[in-house]
Assembly symmetry: C2
Homo-oligomer: 148 residues x 2
């Protein structure tokens, strides 16, 4: 009896995909754009991943889930690969991204307010040519700047 799949140390791409929650195609894409290093290959040219790959891909997924751009992740990975490197740069990337996220939240909130207004006006089911939803979209009087 072989060890169970979850204990195997060298796995094919499908297993890596399962373990990290990243799709097979996306893994190959990450390799292509240089986020994930090229793995060893089997005799038949199939990718074989080890522990280090699982960890690195998990890092990437986590950062992507947090909305970091691939370019930022590349930098973060470079930083994490460089022992003794100053943390300042990594911190700056995270802080900048946090700013962007807060900005986005603010914009979505003002947007939510206007949408809520639009969506409620004609919820009574008025079947008419002057639908309030349409009018609200045509009418810019309530439309403050949502910013960029």
């Amino acid at each position: 009896m072989r060890p169970a799949k979850t204990l195997e140390r060298v796995v094919p791409i499908g297993t890596l995909a399962e373990r990290t929650g990243v799709k097979v195609e996306t893994i190959r894409y990450y390799e292509q754009v240089g986020l994930l290093p090229e793995p060893e290959r089997s005799e038949g040219n199939q990718r074989r991943y080890g522990r280090a790959h699982v960890e690195r891909l998990a890092f990437i997924k986590h950062a992507r889930d947090l909305g970091f751009a691939v370019e930022s992740i590349r930098t973060l990975l470079r930083l994490s690969d460089t022992p003794g490197m100053a943390c300042d740069e990594a911190h700056a990337i995270a802080a900048e991204h946090l700013d962007e996220v807060r900005d986005k939240i603010a914009r979505l909130r003002s947007l939510e307010a206007e949408l809520a207004r639009i969506a409620t006006v004609c919820s009574g089911g008025v079947a008419a040519s002057d639908c309030a939803v349409i009018e609200a979209l045509a009418d810019h009087s309530h439309c403050e700047h949502h910013g960029h």
Copy 2:
């Protein structure tokens, strides 16, 4: 003396762009994908827009600013073009979009919380190989589901 530009009734694409805040290339793109009807042309084949175009494009811009997908806008425009059409469908589109926006806000907020945690840990300027930002990204213990 001709009327001032802001009073002209038939304008070239650049003026339409200025008035609506939509870039020239984007206007042509909207025409290409069928959001904006093909306008009249000058003798020399240049687009000439009238009042109706300005209004329609303003509608499109407003909806885009609110985050409606082009496909949804297409439907909304069709509805607004159809006199006596039931408002229900327009309402459904707006309500669905509102749901999506609220979802997005919720996800961004949990994301903000994690990012804030990440960004503060090493703000003291610890220059070390075990940068807290990097570690926080490598470490999934704090990482609740951010949802899709």
